[in-house]
């Protein structure tokens, strides 16, 4: 029933909804189906996601002409212009939307299965394992991400968790490959490198030589994936040029991170400074995020008991990902998918985290229903492209109110920011408490 309902909801929503990112994905797929290269259409994602988009475009082109994979009726152009360039000017046709979101759905299923396996192992309780499966697969925020937004953050997050899972099941080559895939789909897993380092060191149950060999196999697995992804001549340079050029295609600040504070009235000068200094700001925030993750990693490496990885790793991961979200220069709503699986794992065994998981679900969903994603970033409303309804117009009316619009946006983003701070502190408290065995008793 969970499978049926979760899949059915996603498949119902997928073909007829769109948003800024699905428009970009559709345009990238279409460009490659029309003979373009992987970065002929400017897109800021690493190569493996672009390769997936190529598959989607080429699959769709088996059924439709390549020049019909995206649609851009005059009404869409007019809406885009009316909202000051804050709306996409095309949308993927239903088949393309279904294929892209269908691919993401597969990883929603894989993630649900992985969480099931981990909880089963962690608690020995099949009911809890089923609960976490349902909690993920029927999570409204996850359904919105997969079925409407088509955000693919579940894919790198699956590979991150899979990497840890395989590492602790003595499959270092697969674990390294999973980590490599996570990075080559979306770069954020690189920020978790200290945590991976701690996990590698925490295997005190392995003899030193065997541990060293395992680390080597992990490295080979990662290197193999990176080589597979970057072998075409010039591809890495193209990618670097797109993401590294000043206030570039992927520039943004805000969302619900600390930079959301720049949404306060009267701080226009600061917002301008942030934009003009995108590159150094991103670099500094990356260093801060990396440093904070390293702190969690050190805690984890020093305190994780041998052979019982579930609880300490989960809390260290929660703290680490929150640290990234709270320090990074941009924190879009779909980034909450980086933390939600870990939160659900913790919530199954600890009541304290159930509130946080619920709040992240509600807060993330609210971003989409009322289209608030931070002061400098693009408005990302839920949009249904039929001739008789569009939430975009509702969002435009809400946000267009000169009195309330800016405050609604600010309150939402700052609220989620504060919530994440609370959750990160909870994770830190959990991490400092010594753990025993494989089960953590709910406080």
């Amino acid at each position: 029933m969970v499978l049926l309902v979760g899949t059915g909801l996603r498949l119902l929503l997928a073909p007829l909804t769109s948003q800024y990112d699905p428009a970009i994905f559709g345009e990238s797929s279409a460009t490659m189906a029309l003979g373009g290269g992987p970065y002929t259409y400017l897109i800021v994602y690493p190569t493996d996601w672009v390769l997936v988009l190529n598959l989607i475009g080429r699959t769709a082109a088996l059924f439709l002409p390549a020049n019909a994979l995206v649609a851009a009726p005059t009404a869409v152009l007019t809406l885009g212009l009316t909202l000051g360039g804050l709306e996409p000017t095309s949308y993927p046709v239903p088949l393309v939307a279904l294929l892209e979101k269908g691919f993401v759905l597969l990883f929603d299923l894989a993630m649900a299965g992985l969480l099931y396996a981990i909880v089963q192992e962690w608690t020995g309780d099949r009911l809890k394992a089923r609960l976490v499966f349902a909690a993920w697969f029927l999570n409204p925020f996850v359904i919105i991400e997969s079925g409407v937004h088509g955000a693919f953050d579940v894919i790198p997050t699956f590979f991150v968790i899979a990497s840890f899972y395989l590492w602790y099941h003595d499959r270092p080559l697969s674990a390294g490959a999973a980590f490599g895939l996570g990075v080559m789909v979306k770069v954020y897993p690189l920020l978790l490198l200290p945590l991976f380092g701690a996990a590698l060191l925490a295997r005190r149950d392995l003899a030193p030589l065997r541990r060293a060999m395992s680390v080597l196999w992990f490295g080979l697995g990662t290197a193999g994936i990176v080589a597979l992804s970057l072998w075409p001549p010039g591809i890495f340079q193209q990618y670097l040029q797109i993401v590294g050029t000043g206030p570039s295609v992927g520039e943004s600040h805000g969302g619900f991170g600390p930079w959301s504070l720049s949404a306060f009235p009267g701080l226009g000068g600061w917002r301008r400074w942030l934009f003009l200094n995108t590159a150094p700001v991103a670099l500094i925030s990356t260093v801060i995020a990396f440093g904070l993750v390293t702190l969690f990693a050190v805690y984890y490496a020093r305190r994780a008991p041998a052979g019982s990885w579930h609880a300490p790793l989960t809390y260290a991961a929660i703290g680490s990902v929150f640290a990234i979200l709270l320090s990074f220069s941009v924190a879009q709503p779909q980034y909450l998918l980086w933390i939600l699986p870990w939160l659900l794992l913790a919530a199954i065994v600890e009541r304290r985290f159930r509130t946080v998981a619920a709040a992240v679900t509600l807060g993330g969903s609210a971003f989409y229903v009322i289209g608030l994603a931070g002061p400098l970033y693009l408005v990302q409303p839920t949009a249904i492209f039929t001739h008789w309804i569009s939430f975009s117009l509702i969002d435009a009316a809400v946000l267009g109110s000169p009195t309330y619009g800016p405050w609604v946006e600010l309150v939402t983003t700052v609220s989620v920011f504060l919530l994440l701070v609370y959750a990160a502190l909870q994770a830190l408290r959990r991490l400092r408490r010594p753990t025993a065995g494989g089960v953590v008793v709910a406080a």
Binding site: M32, T40, Y41, L51, N54, P65, L77, P247, R272, F275
Partner: protein, 334 residues
């Protein structure tokens, strides 16, 4: 049978890697990537006539437009200067789009294999550029155009510019245009129109695929005035108004796109098509337009008879795929 979750996770990894390999094969294996080829060549037939031979084939269904121009300069421009200065406010655009357009232009030009050198200049750099050859007067743009330069203006109405930089620490701010800015560029030309998205394409827009339908209400040109000024209607039409026009100014040209620049994807393709066709100058003559299609099983061939160009003129054929996001175009001259 109990499923081993470790093996299942490994299976997901393997399947994903297989998908990546398949995708790479579709992109990089010889003959696997969708391709489109158009060969265009001219042959003199004598008696003041030329023949244009066109052969097109492809692995997917594509719609193309072919335009033939007689023009003095057969090569598209290779040096393009792009004004961007974050110290000044933005109008009918955003700071991100203002900068981002440069990246899109470079990528589209690169995909076409065009020898296209895009140089970003700020306000000081622009002044330095316009002072070539060196002159003492403070009015820079008009003399530079008259000496043969081409100004392409997009965003707010032609001539609405801000002369005062944003104060340090201030927000992006709203543009406060200098008085009578428009009159400095095209005195006597009236602008108007009410639409913001036009639906009908002009002949030139069809020929060269300038697919940018947006407009600034009150900033468009009346087609009759464009023609009266010996200019050329380039863009979309809304009744008697057009959003894009070129005007001869002495030895040079003003090309004005009276439209917001939010849609950088469409704008980049349109601008590159305009530059690659080399035919934005009103002195060029549109000799002919045709539209054709190819599919995987149906290539295209044609021979067109043309009058040979006059002395000092060349004739060039420009074929472009008229589908949104299609990267293909080809240009050949006699």
């Amino acid at each position: 049978m109990r499923l081993d979750p470790v093996r299942l996770v490994q299976a997901v990894i393997v399947l994903f890697v297989v998908a990546l390999l398949l995708s790479e094969g579709l992109l990089y294996a010889p003959g696997a990537r969708p391709r489109l080829t158009v060969d265009q060549s001219f042959r003199a037939l004598g008696g003041g006539q030329l023949a244009l031979y066109t052969n097109a084939s492809g692995s997917f269904a594509a719609n193309l437009a072919q335009s033939v121009f007689a023009l003095t300069q057969p090569s598209p421009p290779t040096e393009v200067y792009y004004y961007y200065d974050s110290n000044y406010p933005v109008s009918y655009s955003s700071i991100a789009d203002w900068y981002g357009l440069t990246q899109h232009l470079s990528v589209v030009a690169s995909a076409r294999g065009l020898p296209f050198n895009l140089t970003i200049v700020d306000a000081a750099g622009l002044a330095g550029l316009l002072r070539q050859p060196p002159r003492a007067n403070t009015v820079l743009m008009g003399p530079w155009i008259r000496l043969g330069g081409t100004l392409v203006w997009a965003g707010d109405t032609l001539g609405r510019y801000e002369g005062t930089p944003i104060a340090p620490g201030a927000s992006f701010g709203k543009l406060i245009p200098v008085p009578n800015g428009s009159a400095r560029f095209l005195p006597g030309i009236q602008v108007g129109g009410t639409g913001i998205v036009y639906s009908n394409r002009s002949a030139f827009s069809d020929a060269v695929y300038l697919a940018y339908p947006y407009a600034i209400a009150g900033g468009a040109f009346r087609t009759s005035e464009v023609q009266a000024a010996n200019g050329r209607v380039l863009g979309y039409l809304d009744g008697s108004w057009t959003n894009w026009a070129a005007f001869p100014i002495g030895g040079g040209t003003i090309v004005d796109l009276a439209a917001p620049t939010y849609d950088v994807v469409r704008l980049s393709f349109s601008l590159v098509n305009l530059l690659e066709s080399g035919a934005w100058t009103p002195s060029s003559t549109l000799v002919g337009i045709s539209a054709f299609s190819v599919t995987a099983n149906a290539p295209y061939s044609s021979v067109a008879l043309l009058a040979a160009p006059g002395a000092g003129m060349h004739v060039c054929a420009f074929s472009v795929e008229v589908d949104y996001l299609a990267p293909f175009a080809s240009r050949s001259c006699d």
